[in-house]
Amino acid sequence: MSILIYADSSNGSLTKNAFEAANYGAQLAEATGTDVFAIVTGSSSDLEVLGNYGVSKVLHASDASLDNFDPQKIAYVVAEAAREINADTIIFSHDYTGKAVAPRLAAKLDAGLVTGAIALPNGNLVKKAVFSGKAFAEIEISTSTKIISVLPNSVDKIETGGAAEVSSFSVDIPSTGVTVKEVKKASSELSLTEADIVVSAGRGLKGPENWGMIEELGGVLGAALACSRPVADIGWRPHHEHVGQTGIAIRPNLYIAAGISGAIQHLAGVNGSKVIVVINTDSEAPFFKAADYGIVGDAFEVVPKMIEAIKKLKSA
């Protein structure tokens, strides 16, 4: 029995989430005394780096057809790899790729799947966040093959140093239905779901013309920008910045919110943040109950002062 980790790559390189999933699998292998492998699909390089996250054996299915993302193909290859190494546990990141592939694999293998795990499993029990982060559930997997997708930024990574041994994994890949025509990336902007720091603002800013200071604060912190739903709905900010129950859920190390009251639906999108800072003129704003640090004050005065203080800190 062994553990197989699907390590995702983008533009030829392993992703941040791939390293998290790899280390999760490596920690589990260490705890259970089992063998651990990673499987990488497509034409990616520098796979030995997975060794630094505790995975010393990497199977590389480098067929170019796998660069055209189709979860049906990837699930097929992962199932073949799992069979090859006798894997009873398969790990994914609960990210865009994992959400597409893991469910297909679970149905294919009739295997129990828990998505968005926030901790290492306890035997057959896997803990995940439910009700949009308002509670946790312990899920028992009853099948002998288990699939777990790990919620990004939830389990601390342990780097071990060392390089992995990469071997080629060849498999006859069936033709499947999805063809990728184009990839559109806002390459200049830091991706909201990958950013360590996020700066966010809402109706308290009174108008779209006032966002300059938010953009500047984001700039000095190297942060991605987010916003509350109302300001996205009325067009002050682009829809892709909307974080919340019906927008994007993020889990940055630091979330700074200015002029957002903190309605339940907004909290559902950001309650996974490690540190939350709230700036609001209303001392009764519900967001303060979820905050780690708060300033009751006018964002138009506070944010510029934050920018100055951060610039001073960074130049010291």
Partner: protein, 246 residues
């Protein structure tokens, strides 16, 4: 176009989350239930728009008991033509997917749409499972769907952007924000919903592979540390030295 939209019942977004039976069951006391927003606002509405543009039918499918009927009627009021409810307990996502796949596989749907995840269990699984069970392509987290004949052009969310893909019918898709705008049923829709077909069919033989053993609530946050608005530098100092966040 023959479109199937999977809808799930979910607690309303403002519901208080509490548990009973020694924290093994969600406490439904006083909770208002709605159609899972991603299913309703994005999957169902896009399905209706495609039907309105191209002709055809939109069927909604739900797995559950009779207390799901009110939310099924809401989907009919918004514009679905008919509904199917599979009388079964929603034990887990794979079980639900098997129920839907067993029904759908003989029905020749051009597309099966669902929301990207439910707001209660946040699984993001059923769509992908159905696709595998019926051997169809799957596009998850789609924010745009356009049809030209039997060819779908879909925008799928990826890290920092979108991927534009093409696939032929039949396919399965999970819908994300951007796919469509929510519709409010009008009086005529609500009246018509009463007489639209809602067929209840028995569950098929299927197994589950997971079960929920218990729930816990998050630890109560230790409380907000307030910094004076005149002392913003102190906040930055705390974030740097104490929180080590910057």
């Amino acid at each position: 176009m023959k479109i199937l939209v999977c809808i799930s019942k979910a607690p309303d977004t403002t519901a208080k989350i509490a548990f009973t039976d020694s924290d093994t069951k969600f406490d439904e006391n006083g909770v208002q239930f709605v159609v899972n927003p991603y299913d309703e606002w994005f999957a169902l509405v896009r399905g209706l728009e495609l039907k309105e543009a191209n002709g055809g039918t939109v069927t909604v499918i739900n797995v559950g008991g009779a207390d799901n009927d009110p939310i099924i009627r809401k989907a009919l009021a918004i514009g679905a033509d008919d509904a199917v409810r599979i009388e079964a307990e929603t034990i887990d996502a794979l079980y639900v997917a098997k129920q839907i796949a067993n029904y759908a596989k003989d029905q020749a749907y051009d597309m099966i749409l669902s929301g990207k995840e439910t707001i209660d269990y946040n699984g993001s699984q059923v769509g992908g499972m159905i696709a595998e069970l019926i051997d169809a392509p799957y596009i998850s987290l789609a924010s745009k769907l356009d049809m030209s004949g039997s060819v779908a052009t879909i925008e799928r969310e990826i890290e920092g952007g979108v991927e534009v893909v093409e696939v032929n019918t039949p396919f399965v898709l999970s819908a994300s924000k951007g796919m469509a705008e929510a519709r409010i049923p009008n009086m005529r829709g609500i009246m018509a919903a009463r007489s639209k077909p809602l067929n209840v069919i028995p569950a098929s033989e299927a197994s589950n592979s997971t079960s929920i053993k218990g729930f816990t609530l998050p630890p109560i946050k230790s409380g907000c540390k307030y910094v004076d608005a005149d002392n913003v530098e102190e906040l930055i100092n705390l974030l740097h030295k104490e929180a080590k966040a910057i």
